[in-house]
Amino acid sequence: MERILFGDNQFFAVNHISDEKSRAQSIRFKNDSAILKTLDEARATGINTFMCTTHDRMINICDVIRKHGDKYADFKIYPCMPYAHKYANAATELGIVGALKEYVPGNFVGSVLKGGMAFLSKDYLSIMELLVDSEMKMFRGIQTPVIFLQNVLTDMLLGLGMNDILVAFHAYIRKKYHAEAGFITMNMPKLVSVLHRGGIENPIVCASINKAGFRMSGGKDLYEQVLKEKKMRLVAMQVLGGGAIPVSEALEYVCSFPQIESILFGASSKVNIEDTVSTIKKLDLASDFFRIA
């Protein structure tokens, strides 16, 4: 994984601290061209990985990337699935079974339901595989070396103790897409233990890591301890703690852990992207220097 990954929250009006900012972003990125322009600005700073939700708007963005194959030759996408609101809205409108019928291809759901709940519970892994395939369709022909499960699902499965689905997701991503599975979580210590127990020795995990301890369930101390003691490939997200910490101080904290492989961040303006990238690079250089010295 590259050191810096570019995120997508700003494109889809996801803002954890302000509804006003979220509306401003929604206006700013109304057209796909605005998203592509910002992606190009991120690429110009050397970022070549875009970590994004399987939002419907990504269909068009992926079309452009495929169409301009030369320009985006080294460009990678780390899809994060599912886009939960899509399913939540479908479930609101059509009910749970209706939503499954809508998104699982063929007559699979119909035949499963005819078999009753026993059949359904045996076959939930097949349903998971079909849903993964349907989410992955938009990325055909694009490099997707890591495929993430969104925190809403990772943490729900973790909470319910349905650990076998997490492990099966990992196996399926390897088998079908020759890629690595990643897991986004707000409960990193608990997840890492579960993945290790499931035989995933060096899992890719994306979790909140910030000086404020924001969304680090179980506490910052526990996170720091697990990070030092357990084997994983960690992507740090929400490094600004939802905007609560000054940028340089926030990045300094994250860069102080050599165990953190990648840093995920999103920004709308060119200046903010450039500042964040150059600050991370400076901090990394400094810590390399001290390590060698």
């Binding site: 954890h16 509804d19 006003e20 979220s22 009910g95 608990k190 924001f214 369930s217 179980g218 939802g242």
Partner: protein, 233 residues
């Protein structure tokens, strides 16, 4: 209600807003009297629940989903009851359907609270300019004003003397990230974990059972009933 009291049973209803950091801070500021005498409020909630005509879903059935007033506005009314004072009178109200045929999709009402404060309730679950439910409350007093939603708190104080600690004259902005206590397990919002933890602690006899009781929820139900009745006149 009498049975619950008589048997001293632990009881709770899931109004999660009372566990959201920004709203808890609003409660503190109001209880301290820092914005002076309150004379008006505006309580809103908007979101994209029913955004097109569609029959035969559970949301559109009054027996299952119940509609915007029951399912969505209830959370705003309950928050209002908690933050300022319970709804005592409904001057006027409109409970309307936009896309649904058997349930309501929006509620607008002019209310009076037990503390004599008056204000406006405005709730619409057919508004797809919102990505997800957004609840906000504005409270105006003689010494200041509060505007808060689930993520951002903006407070204005007229004078330096009336400010609580950590605030200053003029506008102050705080984010839920600064006002949220960490939880042991996170799923879609600290407030849900905090709420269930609060309940479990009460069941274990380790914590109090004061927030979101059947008694406070009944006050919300009564306000819902008054709003519905007024809309029929």
């Amino acid at each position: 209600m009498d049975l619950v009291k008589k048997n001293a049973l632990i009881n709770q209803v899931g109004y999660h807003n009372k566990f959201v950091g920004t709203f808890l801070e609003v409660k503190k500021i109001l209880e301290g009297g820092h914005i002076g005498d309150i004379y008006h409020f505006q309580a809103d909630a908007y979101g994209p629940v029913v955004i097109k005509k569609s029959e035969n879903t559970w949301r559109s059935s009054p027996e299952e989903g119940g509609g915007c007033l029951m399912d969505y506005a209830s959370h705003v009314i309950d928050l209002l009851n908690y933050l300022i004072s319970p709804v005592e009178e409904v001057f006027s109200s409109t409970v309307k359907s936009i896309f649904s045929s058997r349930v309501d999709d929006a509620v607008y009402a002019l209310l009076k609270l037990r503390s004599n404060v008056t204000g406006v309730l405005s709730v619409n679950w057919s508004d797809d300019t919102y990505r997800k439910m957004s609840t906000s409350i504005t409270v105006i007093g003689t010494k200041g004003k509060i505007i808060s939603d689930g993520s951002e708190l903006k407070v204005y104080f007229k004078d330096a003397d009336s400010c609580p600690q950590g605030y200053s004259k003029g506008w102050n902005v705080k984010y839920v990230t600064d006002l949220t206590d960490p939880v042991d397990f996170y799923l879609r919002g600290e407030e849900y974990s905090a709420q269930i933890d609060y309940f479990i602690r009460a069941v274990q006899g380790k914590g109090e059972n004061r927030i979101n009781t059947f008694e406070s929820a009944l006050l919300t139900d009564k306000a819902i009933m008054m709003i519905r009745e007024k809309s029929r006149i």
